[in-house]
Each structure stands twice: as structure tokens, then as C-alpha cells.
Symmetry: C3
Subunit: 440 residues, 3 copies
């Protein structure tokens, strides 16, 4: 057994080495910094219409570049409160690799020109959104895959995320600045499908106990505060302009406040405990940012944000109470950190709300903001109804890509269900050594 | 007893529901986002002279909007180090409700026009200052009121805070950009008066032990670092301009540094312990930001900030040693988190220092900054002495409103001293079930 | 013994009082805020050529002033993960005193004019870099000197840091915006030399155990996230301009990502444990920011940053495994927090890398950035080769000043090896009462 552990340690070491060398070579061949004075490089390409919309406000992007590492780390702290410190090292490995890989993959799609990828602050922010989606996927699988599998999940997840984002934002012209669909929904269902395939009947029972083990609430406190402080800025990363009021930021704050009250309304009714745990407030917080991802910049009245936030805050308590047991027993899908309740469902509802708001969008209500939120509608090349249809179609496409991608990822070499040389042998499946797996 | 607990849980749930629905309805009827291109909306009103002074620098405000949630959370972490994790959930509920309510109440006073309240980034920053004051009040009462009482305290506290701020800033033209009076002094004495009325002889003895229980210092470390990093920006929120040196920020940093040394000077003399606890350094930090609230932008020399900070740092050790026991035994006022020592007294001293500096203010020393700090003096409609008198009068007004308001709040329906249906029955007063109370 | 403890407590109290009074008097006599409208005050002096380069971009500096307290606190949290909470109070005392003292000492060199020191946001940022270096020195000595010694170390360390920085940046025109040499290398070797002189044979054995004691990983998690989020901005503090891509920020991010993977590659090979501890990832993070201090703004391709980061990530595991035991046994130098592995060696390698990159610098590759990174080369007063020679010479000068300064500091009054009245008597050397020493 110890020999096997040594082999498994060295395999991770070797895989990290190979991936890093591969990335360095690809960077050396393809990646260069954007030359100065060419912020609008992207506009020379046909397929980056969503980037064009950015080209006018370089400064907010640049200003925020020092915040870009925050997005993923907020999620990371949130997961610590559900799963404990053991998951940190592997999560940071995933962040470190996903950022490099996302710069490469997204670079080929968006910033490729004359045989080179020109990266800049924009690339890092885009890569960070991608990393956030991968971390959400990880949240569904934590403690059930070994580090090697997690790296493969990252490798394929980044690629599929970029494909989905490209189809939605560039080809279909969907507005989803905060990533209700691209980040939250994609991340959740991709991870859930991987989790479903990795399911092993006799190991999940023991896990079940571990899941419900109460982690110290200190991480939930830190996670909640972190999300309140920094997330509203991310939801609105692409809509902040110099002379407009930051509606997306304000909408997100209002919805955070309302979702917190919703938890206080519903939790005492559903649970017998007299004590409201901090992790439940954190769930409400995450759910409302997932809900506001698409709708945040579309809501034109504050009370709309309050209602949406209140509804979002109702989802996690209901989900954990009624849906998670069904998922686990009927659908054989373990969801370690409950990403279905705090990212998946709120993301879908956010997309539906966004579709509704798009259909109702009028130039009167939006004024000059219409050009920011729905550039194609403002230019007259689409009606609001067409745009709403596009937004609606984006939902099944995302779900399809996420589940199909998750299915393929879980079956790929490296998974315990396959016979690849990279995989652990069937005789000692990953789930049997939780200490090693979850700690590294 | 369990039945009663269930009833109490459901009453909180119901109250949250009612308050959220009420807020949503009021938002739906009254609150709209500011239309674009009208940053100076406020100037159309007569009663917002203090807001006019802001209208020129929209950008710093906008830039800082993602930081606005920080203010209250800094206090929240500071209280965790005094009272432990049990107080977090209820504190976050208070933050969530106070922000919504403050937007409404302040909106009626400052942003009401044509039957609508027009909110924007400014409203959120103002609401956050209000939330900070309410959290300070909460610090005096933590563990002694039930959640229902805390919500009523929030409801009335926000209203009284707004009234006091309106009288001071708009009617009297007082300069108090960092809130020495409006935030720290008001919050502390409002909370202390509520605490005094809630006093119940036979329950306080047990509490006493809990107060002095040593919470793990990790929260004090986090709280101190947090305050050092973020608070200086808040003290100066209204005085940052493009081309002026950020004196208020620098003054606050210098005073933070000096107050830390003051604690190292005084604590070993007053206490026998050889170990300086982190929470004492945190107290010095809080005291010096309360002190700098009004004077921060008025000090024109760095050594003045060092002296003021040093004096502020002496207050909490002296207060905890000599004043808190007197408050508790003679005045029957329990002060859970010591807000009198770290907010109340330093706030009053800060106001007196601010008055002195105002009286000494000359156009020579301030230069172009005079218009920012004392717009009425710069416009010639007041002499520096008149302004100083106004600043001085603001202190008794704040104390009067805070104590009177606290008195009325504690006697209002919901308190254990009243017979309201919302209140807990006298037979099982709030203070008898500390676990339930402090945890939710 | 208790009497002695009381004396020691009061001595610290008295020293703090004296130092604070001294600082206040010096501030009162010399320090004033910069008058308005004179951002280019510095340019009137001959000896601040490196500051001139700043005068054009006041705004980024001003914008970042609220972040300036972050730099030191990041290191502080990192040390907590190595040495525990006991070191916090004394570390914050050091931060509080070092900032005041650095403003004074640096003021005399850089901002002295007409008999006054004119301070502003720039002074605070410079003072914060100095504080970071002193904290690194502290990291080598933690738990081995008493608070009085630590204050003397701060007093002399700040002075020597300023001298070294002045020689390197102003006299020699070296480019070291992120402080590979001035902060990391100087801080590490200054602290290590103090540690060497304080060495006491029979006390170090017990310490050894304490060093390897596993602190809870929660601080390492917080420290790592903190460094990822905020440090890249510091590395590039002086190179951010409005219209240039923030290469230094991006380079630092890429190197952080690669160094994390390097730890996952090397640690399993060197250590038997199957569990990768968070503190190892934190070490890699610190090493890569030390490496990028000088080279961050000079690397013109992303893959260069990946390679440099990967190499930096290899240093701490190798250093802790092979070098620290040698340092301890042969060179009798205890290194409490391993600053040699995470700051010293990576700083030296960063300086060598910077030298290489300087020698290769061409106007073609840098474009308009050449003026920012190598103003003297851009102005034609130096060739790239001359500049590279200067960068190279800066390394031995820094090492010499750091070790010589550390030697003198450790022998100065207050150290247990001296007979000063301030020092503890030989009969009860500092290292014998670790509880008192490390806690206060």
C-alpha cells in the first residue's frame, strides 16, 4: 500500500511537470504581450463582437486587474467552509493551472492574430472567469477524485468552458456579463455530471457522513464577508463606465441583502435547529450572485433586485432539504459542496429572469445604457424579442455542453472507470484513501 | 420550553418576512435609480447642502462603491474578537436589513423628488455609514437582546441616525466626514442607553463571566489588519479629490501607528499580565479611527495626527480598567463589546478636537482645501469661529438624540420590559437562553 | 523571577514612550504635508532621480495609497503560519514604529527642502516598502530576541535600508521597482546576520522543535490567498501607467501560477509525506514574488515569467531540505521563518535575472516602456551594458550593507551579548523565557 501511495505521489509530480513544460513551450511559441497602443486589437477580428463592446473602457479593466485573482479565491474560501482545509492545496493547484491553460485556449479563440496570441489585462480577467467555473465544478467532485483526475477535469473543463462562452457570447451575441450561464450553470452541471460518472455505490455511504460533518464556521464567516465585499464588482466588470451609475453593482448589493433575509425566513421553517449556521447565509449569498449574473445589469428598478434576491435566497434551503437527497439516492449524483443548490439552480433561474427582462427591454427604460447591455439591439440589428430568444436558447446549449462535456471528461483516461495507465488500478480506487486524496 | 423555542424561531422568521415584504413594497412605490446624466440631481433641492459639496467628484465615489460594504464588515469582525462567532448570523441580518432601510429613510430626506427616491452609488455609501453606526449600537447589546429586539433596534436606530445626520450635516452645516459624531458617538450612546434599559439585575452576573472569556485572538488579528488596510480610505471618503494630497488618509495612518505604540506604553502599566493581547491593539486601532473621524481632514501637520492618535490609544486601556466597572455596577449599563471605550469616548474627544481645529482654521493653512473641508467658511457665509460653534453644538445634540432614542427604542414593543405581543413573555426573559439568542 | 518580568514589561513600555515622544518631536520640527500643486517637488532636488520618474503619474500612486498598508501585513500573515499567533503583537508594534521612523529617515534623504520634510502619499508607499524589509528581517529572529531588541533592530534596520536604497536607486540608478534587492535580499540577510550573532548554543535545541511544530494551516491559506490577490500590484507599483499594459502585474501572476506547480513537482520527490502542506505553497508564492521584484517589469514575454516562476518555486523546497540544516548546524544561524529560502535566495536569483535581462534590453523590444524601466538608458546617458553592470554591482553592495548592518545591530546596546543597561542580564537570557518573549 505505501508503495502504491509513493507511486501515486510521483505520478502527480510527473504530471504537473509535463503540463507545466507543455504550457511553457506553447507560451514560448504562441503567446506575446499586446504591443502598446493597440488596445483595440480585438476589433480587427470578426469573431469577437462581445470584446468590441469592451474596447471603449480600457481603464476600468486595467484598474481592476489587481482584483482579478479575487474571483476564484472567493469560491475557494466558500468551499473550505463546506469541505475543510484538506481541499485547499489541490484547489490552488487547479487555480494555478487553469489560469495558464485558459490564457492559452481563450487566446486561440479571441486574441489570435498573425500566428501569435496577444495577451493583456483582458486575457487575465477572462481567464479568471474561466477558473471560477472550473472551481465550481471541482466543488461537486471534491474528495471523490484524485489530484490527477482533477487536473484532467481542469484540462478539459477549460476547453469546454471556452467553447461554450465563445458560442454564447461571440456567435449568438448573448448578454451574460456576470456569468449566470457561462460560469455558474456551466460549472455546476459540468461538475455534477463528472460526479455522477465517478459514482461508486459502496464508497458513497461513508462519504455521506463526511459531507454533513460540521466544518468550523469561521470559513463561512470569511467567505460570506468576502463575497459581499468583492463579488458585486465582478458581476458588473463589463458594464462599469465613467458616467453611468453602477446599476449592476447596486442591483447585486440589494439582492445580497434580500437573499440574507430570505434565509432567515425559510431556514427556521425547514430545519428544527434553533441555530442558523453561517454556511446557510453564505449559500444565500452565493445563490444571489449566481442569480444576478445575467440580470444584474438588466434590472432597471431596485425593487426588482430585492425580489430576485429574495427568491434566490429561498433556493438553497429548499434545495438542500428536498433536492440533494433525491440527487444522491435516485440520480446517484453526489454533490460535495452543494453546487447544484447554490450555483446550478440559481444560475438557471437567473438566465430565465434575464430572458424575461430582455424581452421587456425598451430604449426608454435603458436610455444610453441600452448600447452597453444589448449592443445589437441598440444598433438596430436585432429586436428585443430576437435578443430574448437568443438568451433563452443559450440555456439548453449550456446545459447540453456541460453535461456532455462532463460525461466525456469522467470517461477520459485517468478516471477510475477507465483502464488508462494514468488511472489508479481498480483494486484500490480513489475513494478508498480519502486522507491522501483530499489533502493533496 | 422547546415549544417556546419553536415559537420564537418562527416569530423571527415571520418578522423577517414582513419586514422584507414591506421594504419591497416601499421600494416598488418610491425607489428608482437615478437617471443618467443627472449626477447633480441633489442640487435641485434646498436641504442637501452637504451633498452639493460632493457633486463635483462623482468619480472617487463611484470608484469606491465596491468598497462600501467594507465599513460595516470591519466592525463585525472586530466584534467577533470580543464576543465570538455566535453573534455573526444576527449581525449579518442586521447589516442586510439596515442597508435596505437606510436607503429608504435617507432617500426620503435627501433624494426625494417628484414623489420618487432616486438612488445611486451615493445612497449606498450613505447607507453603509448608517449601518456602521447601527453595528456599533449592537456591540453594546450583543447577547442581551433577542433577534426580534435587534431588528426593532435596527428599525428605529436607522431612523434616528438619519435624523441626527440630517440635523448636523444639512441644517447646521457641520463637517464630520468620517463620522466621529454621526457614526461613533451616536452609535455608542444609542446602544448604551438601550443596554441600560434592558438591564436585568440577576442575569448580568453570569454574563459578566462570558464577557471576559478570552475569544481566540485570530479574529482580533484579522480585525486589526482589516482596519489598518481599509479604514483610512473611509475616513476620507468625502475629501479625496484628483489633485489634492490625501491628508485625511495620511493623518489616519499616522494616528493608527501612534495609537498602537500608546497601547504598548499603557497596557503593561495597568495590567499585571505580561502578555499583550491582540484585542487591545484592535481597541487602540478602533479608538484612533473614531478620533480621526472629524479631525482627519482638518489636521494640517503630521505630528498633530501622531499626538491625537497617541491620546486616542490611551483611552481604551484606561476605559476598560476604570470606567467599565463603574458603568456596570453604578450605572447598571452592561457594555458587551466595550463600545463606550472604543467608539463613544474617542468619538467625543474627536469632536472636541475637531471643534478646536475648526476655530483655528485659516485660509492660509488650508489653501484650496478650505472649500472642501469647510465650504461655508470658504464661501464667506460663516467665520471660522461660527463654524466652530456649530461643530461644538453638534455634540450635545447628538448625545441627546442618541440617549433619548435609545430610551424610546428599549421601551418600544418587543422589549422584555414591555407587554407587547411581539415580546417574549416575562416568565422566560431573553437573557435566560443565551445559546439561542447569541447564535441566531 | 516575576519581579524581573515586571521590570522587563515596564522597560518595553518606557522605551515605546521614549521612541514615540522622540518621533513626535522630530515630526513637529521637520515634517510637513506637501503643499498643494507641487507634486513635482522632488524634481527640485538632485538626488532623487528615481523619484523623478514617478512625477508624471501621481494618480496611480494616490489611488493605491489605501492599499499601502497591505504590503507589510501580507508578510505578517505569512509569518503567522510559520510561527503562530504569539508573534503578532510584536510584529504590529514593529509595523507601527517602522512606518513613522521610515517616513522620517527617508524624508531626510528624499524629501528634505528648506529645512522641512514634505511628506505625501509617496512617502507612505516608500515607508511601507521599508517596513516590509524590516518584517522580513524579523522573520529570521522571531522568538529569539526580546521586544526591546526588536525595536532596536527596527531603529537601525530602517536607517540601513534607507541608506542601501538611496545608494542603489538614487546614486547608481538601479532599476528595482519590486525590491528584489532592496526589500527581499536586504531584509533576509540583515535578519540572518542578527540571528547569527544572537545564537546561543544550548537554547537552540528546544527552539528547533518549536520551529517544526505544525501551525494550523489556516494562516497559510489566508497568507497565500492574500499574496496572490494583492502582491502583483505592489511589484508593479512604479510601472503602472494609463496607457500601457500592466506587464509587471501579468508577469507576476504568471510566475505565481508556475511556482505553485513547481512545488507540486518537487515536494513529493523530496518529502516522504503524501500530504502537501499549504505552507509549502505559500513559500513558493513568496519566492516567486521575491524573484519577480526586479525582473517583473523587464520580462517582455509571458513564457519568460513562467520559467522564472517555475525556478523560483523550486528554491524553497530545496532550501528547507538541504540548506536550512546546514545553516543551523554549520553556520550556527537559526532562521525561524525560513526567510533565507523564501526571500534571500530568490531575491539574489531575481537580481541576477534582472541583470541578464538588462543586458539584453533593446529599444525595439521595450518600445515606449524603455523610458519607464530604464530611464537612463532611454535618455542615452547609459548603454544597456552599463546599466546591467550597475544592476550587478548592486548585489554585493546590498549583501555587504545587510550583513555588516546586521552585525552591528546585534552587537548594539540591548542585545544579550552586550552589557548595556537596556539589555536583559546574562543570568536570564532572552531565549529562556519564550512564552513572554514571543507573546508580546
Amino acid at each position: 500500500m505505501p508503495e502504491h501511495t509513493t507511486a501515486s505521489r510521483l505520478r502527480l509530480s510527473g504530471l504537473c511537470f509535463l503540463l507545466q513544460i507543455l504550457t511553457i513551450i506553447l507560451f514560448a511559441v504562441f503567446v506575446r504581450y499586446s504591443p502598446e497602443g493597440s488596445p483595440s486589437l480585438c476589433s480587427q477580428q470578426l469573431n469577437c463582437s462581445w470584446k468590441n463592446q469592451d474596447s471603449g473602457f480600457q481603464h476600468p479593466r486595467f484598474r481592476d486587474v489587481h482584483l482579478q485573482a479575487l474571483l476564484g479565491f472567493g469560491l475557494l474560501v466558500a468551499f473550505l467552509s463546506r469541505y475543510g482545509l484538506g481541499s485547499t492545496a489541490i484547489s490552488i493547484l487547479i487555480v494555478a493551472f487553469a489560469i495558464q491553460w485558459a490564457v492559452l485556449i481563450q487566446g486561440f479563440l479571441y486574441f489570435f492574430l498573425n500566428g501569435k496570441i496577444y495577451v493583456g489585462a483582458q486575457s487575465m480577467v477572462s481567464a479568471d472567469f474561466c477558473t471560477a467555473a472550473i472551481l465550481i465544478s471541482t466543488g461537486a467532485v471534491l474528495g471523490r477524485g484524485n489530484p490527477v483526475q482533477m487536473l484532467l477535469l481542469t484540462l478539459l473543463g477549460v476547453t469546454l468552458f471556452t467553447l461554450n462562452e465563445y458560442i454564447l457570447l461571440s456567435l449568438m451575441g448573448v448578454s451574460d456579463s456576470g456569468g449566470s450561464l457561462t460560469v455558474h450553470t456551466f460549472g455546476a452541471y459540468f461538475g455534477l455530471m463528472v460526479s455522477r460518472i465517478l459514482h461508486q455505490p459502496h464508497t458513497d455511504k461513508r462519504k455521506e457522513q463526511q459531507d454533513t460533518g460540521h466544518q468550523p464556521d469561521v470559513f463561512a464567516v470569511v467567505g460570506t464577508i468576502y463575497l459581499w465585499i468583492f463579488w458585486p464588482s465582478f458581476t458588473s466588470a463589463t458594464t462599469v463606465r465613467h458616467n453611468t451609475e453602477p446599476w449592476a453593482v447596486l442591483n447585486t448589493y440589494f439582492s445580497l441583502a434580500a437573499s440574507t433575509l430570505a434565509t432567515f425566513v425559510l431556514s427556521p421553517v425547514l430545519y428544527e435547529e434553533s441555530i442558523l449556521r453561517m454556511v446557510q447565509i453564505q449559500d444565500a449569498t452565493l445563490a444571489s450572485v449566481a442569480m444576478m449574473g445575467m440580470a444584474g445589469e438588466m434590472l432597471v428598478t431596485p425593487f426588482g433586485a430585492l425580489i430576485a434576491g429574495f427568491l434566490a435566497g429561498l433556493i438553497p434551503p429548499l434545495g438542500f432539504r428536498f433536492l440533494t437527497p433525491v440527487l444522491r439516492s435516485r440520480l446517484k449524483t453526489q454533490d460535495t459542496c452543494g453546487v447544484h443548490n447554490v450555483h446550478g439552480l440559481p444560475g438557471i433561474l437567473g438566465a430565465l429572469l434575464g430572458t424575461l427582462l430582455t424581452a421587456l427591454a425598451t430604449a426608454d427604460a435603458y436610455g444610453g445604457r441600452l448600447e452597453l447591455v444589448f449592443p445589437l439591439v441598440a444598433q438596430g440589428s436585432r429586436t428585443a424579442t430576437d435578443q430574448a430568444l437568443c438568451q433563452l436558447c443559450a440555456l439548453p446549449i449550456t446545459l447540453l455542453l456541460a453535461t456532455l462535456g462532463g460525461f466525456l471528461t469522467a470517461l477520459s483516461p485517468g478516471s477510475p472507470n477507465s483502464d488508462s495507465s494514468l488511472a489508479l488500478s481498480r483494486g484500490s480506487p480513489a475513494a478508498k484513501r480519502p486522507a491522501e486524496i483530499t489533502s493533496c
